[in-house]
């Protein structure tokens, strides 16, 4: 089979070069990055505030100029022209260069922060110190490597958010959703925690808390140092701790029931925010194969089990055994975890068993048995809870999932595997929300009768690798646990086939056979065959 992507004519392939303003935008953006790189080599800037501001502003201006140059002459509408021809978005050389650079950045950030200027003793230097002026303005403290990361992350979401809004300016759903992720990133992930640090005194110290970052995405939220500092910070601290628990057990299920997991994954979440804005150019790279879907189900749910085990073990280590000191003892806690897991399993088994695939059944039973027997083993024989030290579990999770999976692979490989690798294969929060969405939510993507022409735009541009077309061409609604409700399938559909909707649970999935254009009698026959 010949391949259209190769150059077939003597005069070369389709146009894919940048126009001159796009080149200028790219240059200006890289000047901003270059200033930061210079800081990394400890170039001393006479006025750090000025140069930091200059670098952040040039990065933003560069991206926005690029955006303007890309879309100013285009009419409103879907214009994915040349996406697969361009090196950066079609897994060409530039994609690999970008992927390796991003990956390199994450490796340095997580494992070699000394190259960013982190000093064990004394003031930080290099890039971290370069960000001091902004950090001091916000929190009053010098910058850390996480502040540098947070700042660049926010700049990326904001400026690529502008690009996304411009690109989809005909689509109000996309515009509102993007304004929402831009707001939550800037306010909740960036400004509020920094400003909260200003309240700190010798007697009052809140942990750095991004309120929208819910356990288990925020896997460290219930670790001892955080609990200690929540509790020691009086009413405010206690309120925040309770909010953290309520978030996952009450707020999340209610919102997911009403709107699907999109309320979080593509409207609020920071990981989703970056994926939807800076990662938008890479959404078509997700793997749509059946085998990828199978791997996704096993991996993401295994991460969920891992985080439950790890958190249970960590919390259990700091709970006491004496009920007279504090009502929540270690035994009571473990019993509670066991009961909760059993209850969730039983409810799903009783009410939703028919909707589970075979491997989901095996997986659910297998994991429940393993978890309960580990709990039992610990209870009766006093062996290490879950066989490993809690600290070992915590460290392994932080390293494997927190750093490698979500950062290095999840974001570093945007240009190769697509922008939602972490959300799809790794995020335990997405796994929980996905279970709720699949089994107990009003959300679905409605297929519009028989209008589908199987073109494949929806599947191609699904960042979660859902083969949307396979449902749409059968006239079936799409109810998939992984769907983050970004709405792009509906946006790129040339025939108006797909609509994200919240509606009644009855008939949420059913195919509307008759509307495929067939006579009722025929469909009756077909269905009875």
């Amino acid at each position: 089979m010949s391949n259209f992507q190769r150059d077939m004519s003597l005069t070369g392939g389709p146009p894919k070069s940048l126009n001159s303003f796009q080149k200028l935008g790219t240059f200006i953006g890289f000047v901003g990055l270059f200033i930061i790189v210079l800081a990394g080599f400890n170039v001393s800037f006479p006025n750090k505030t000025f140069w930091l501001a200059l670098s952040l502003i040039t990065i933003t201006v560069g991206i926005i100029l690029f955006t303007w140059a890309s879309y100013r002459n285009q009419t409103e509408g879907i214009k994915n022209h040349g996406v697969w021809f361009k090196s950066i978005s079609g897994r060409g050389l530039w994609a690999w260069i970008a992927g390796l650079s991003l990956t390199g950045f994450y490796v340095v950030l997580y494992f070699f922060p000394q190259f960013l200027g982190l000093q064990a003793v004394g003031d930080n230097t290099g890039i971290i110190a370069f960000f001091d002026p902004l950090s001091r303005t916000l929190s009053g403290n010098p910058a850390s490597q996480w502040f540098v990361y947070g700042t660049l992350y926010t700049v990326a979401i904001l400026s690529f958010g502008v690009k996304f809004i411009w690109k989809y300016r005909h689509n109000r759903y996309e515009k509102l959703r993007t304004i929402s992720v831009m707001f939550f990133q800037t306010a909740f992930a960036f400004l509020i925690p920094e400003l909260m640090a200003r309240l700190h005194s010798d007697t009052f110290s809140l942990p750095y808390y991004d309120l929208k970052n819910i356990w288990p995405l925020n896997y460290y939220n219930f670790e001892q140092y955080r609990i200690d500092s929540f509790i020691s910070s009086g009413t405010i601290g206690l309120t925040l701790l309770i909010f953290g628990i309520v978030s996952i057990f009450i707020i999340t299920p209610i919102l997911t029931y009403k709107y699907g997991k999109r309320w979080y994954c593509s409207w609020v979440c920071g990981c989703g925010g970056l994926a939807e804005t800076a990662g938008d150019s890479f959404r078509q790279l997700s793997d749509k194969s059946q085998i990828a879907w199978k791997i996704e189900r096993w991996v993401v749910h295994s991460v969920l089990v891992f985080v439950v085990v790890m958190t249970t073990a960590v919390v259990a280590t700091y709970l006491g055994n004496d009920p007279t000191k504090y009502w929540l003892t270690k035994d009571l806690f473990l019993l509670g975890v066991g009961l909760l897991l059993t209850l969730v399993f039983t409810l799903i088994w009783v009410f939703k068993r028919k909707e589970l695939q075979k491997d989901a059944k095996y997986g659910a039973i297998g994991y429940l048995v393993i978890l309960l027997s580990l709990l039992g083993l610990h209870y009766f024989s006093g062996s290490n809870l879950f066989l490993f030290e809690a600290e070992t579990l915590r460290k392994s999770y932080g390293f494997l999932i927190g750093a490698i999976f979500s950062g290095v692979i999840g974001t570093g490989f945007y240009p190769i595997f697509g922008n939602r690798v972490w959300c799809r294969f790794g995020c335990p929060m997405a796994a929980i929300l996905g279970l709720q969405q699949r089994l107990f939510s009003r959300f679905r993507i409605t297929t519009n009768g028989g209008q589908c022409i199987s073109c494949g735009n929806c599947s191609t541009y699904c960042e979660m690798g859902i083969d949307v077309r396979s449902y749409a061409q059968k006239g079936e609604n799409i109810v998939r646990s992984s769907c983050v409700g970004c709405g792009i399938c509906s946006a790129v559909c040339p025939r108006g086939v797909l609509k994200l909707e919240n509606g009644p649970l009855e008939g949420r999935i059913d195919s509307k056979d008759i509307l495929l254009g067939n006579d009722v009698d025929l469909m009756h026959l077909l269905n009875n065959h």
Binding site: T446, I453, S454, C455, H529
Partner: protein, 436 residues
């Protein structure tokens, strides 16, 4: 167990194969000269525009066919010997069948224009057409100007494709306004303006007289019949409709018209030979539908129907209410029921037309003047819910009812601005002015 041979791996043939497999254990072979695997023909344009790669246009993974015991054979059939139940291939091979389903699709119309077979002159229908297009119009230095001849759905798509690669396009449309044999005036004129907004050199009421060759037998220019104007170009797209691809069946004994004649059971005059999809020509008309319907979903429906017959329950093809959709550059178009253009509608059909001031959204509702019955709706830039429209047509609702409840049928994404109130008030005003 019969051997079912399906000639053609487009939507019709593949749907037939899938449903035969679903309902039976017959041996199934799909024959195609075009590609190894089924792909969505309607998505060819997106490959050229770089939205998708060819692999993305295949609705099933390559392992699907093996898994479902559907044999695929690549080959060009040159003749059918019905008496021997045999297909002959151009390379001398042959294949016997117990039942044959002809799903051979269409080919682009060529109306005998001088120069129509020159290099750089082609239609846009098949995978091979796309390969040719990539050779002759890969970018605007290989192709400094393209001329598209024929103002229908494929023509406007080809114009969009070429302009996505910054190739200047001259668009020759025979009619006085784009597609106005199908679209009512207000809609057709809005699309004219939309085409021009995309910097297409739109020439209405313009026929092709002749295509001029250079010394290498490649297109050099075209001449417009009405004005005699010569337009230099490197590529000519012939998109004046399609016609069933049945030349190789001429001496097969099949009853042929423009297409392969079939009864309501999709049976041809030869026993055990069926025809479905673009190439089938209905002997008896079905409602207002054309006898040959080169439409994606009718191909799919015929595939499902013929599968029933082959698996033992002889079933008539009964398409429901007419619907269709298309996209003209940025503007989506949907239609449900029948809205005829002024050129062909009869006097009892009256239209209500509404257009948004931004000139990208409009709708037309057709009503029977005497009964007030809702006949159909065209929408541009507003998505409609098929389920609701289909129900209203079945329930034979009045246009008044449809106007009152139009919001129920809206299928636009969440948070989109809606126009039902504006449409209704404009409708009520018009009624008042007409009754005065």
């Amino acid at each position: 167990m019969d051997h079912i041979v399906i000639l053609g791996n487009g939507i019709s043939g593949v749907t037939a194969a899938r449903h035969i497999r679903k309902n039976s254990d017959h041996r199934i072979t799909i024959v195609s000269a075009e590609t190894d695997h089924f792909f969505s023909r309607t998505a060819l344009m997106y490959i050229y525009m770089g939205h998708m790669k060819f692999e993305h246009t295949k609705p099933y993974e390559d392992g699907f066919w093996d898994k479902n015991r559907i044999e695929l054979k690549r080959g060009f059939v040159s003749a059918l010997q019905a008496d021997k139940k045999t297909l002959l291939f151009s390379n001398g091979e042959s294949l016997t069948y117990d039942k044959l389903i002809l799903a051979v699709g269409s080919k682009s119309n060529k109306f005998g224009w001088p120069g129509q077979d020159l290099k750089g002159v082609q239609g846009l229908y098949s995978y091979q057409d796309l390969e040719q297009l990539e050779i002759h119009a890969s970018n605007n230095s290989a192709c400094r100007r393209a001329v598209v001849v024929g103002g229908g759905l494929i023509g406007i798509e080809l114009a969009e494709m070429l302009s996505s690669r910054n190739i200047p396009v001259t668009f020759l449309v025979r009619e006085s306004s784009f597609w106005n044999g199908v679209l009512p005036k207000g809609e057709s004129e809005m699309i004219n303006r939309h085409i021009q907004k995309h910097h297409i050199d739109l020439r209405l009421s313009s026929n092709l007289r002749e295509i001029i060759s250079d010394r290498e037998g490649k297109v050099k220019s075209v001449i417009i019949d009405e004005t005699g104007e010569e337009i230099p170009c490197d590529f000519v797209g012939l998109t004046a409709g399609v016609t069933p691809n049945i030349d190789f069946l001429k001496n097969s004994g099949l009853d042929l018209g423009r297409g392969i004649k079939v009864n309501r059971f999709l049976e041809t005059n030869l026993s055990n030979v069926y025809a479905i999809g673009d190439c089938a020509e209905q002997l008896e008309p079905i409602g207002n539908r054309r006898s040959i319907e080169a439409v994606w979903y009718t191909g799919r429906m015929m595939g499902e129907t013929v599968a029933q017959s082959i698996c033992g329950s002889r079933t008539a093809y009964q398409p429901g209410h007419w619907f269709n959709s298309a996209k003209f550059f940025d503007i989506e178009y949907q239609t449900y029921g029948w809205v005829f253009s002024e050129r062909i509608k009869d006097a009892s059909e009256i239209h209500f037309h509404w257009k948004h001031s931004d000139d990208t959204k409009c709708l037309t509702i057709a009503t029977n003047k005497d009964t007030g019955k809702f006949l159909g709706i065209n929408t541009f830039g507003i998505r409609m819910r098929h389920e609701v429209m289909d129900r209203w047509l079945t329930e034979q609702r009045s246009t008044d009812y449809v106007m009152e409840h139009l919001a129920e049928a809206n299928f636009d994404p969440e948070f989109y601005r809606t126009f039902e109130k504006q449409i209704l008030s404009s409708f009520n005003k018009k009624i008042q002015t007409t009754s005065l």
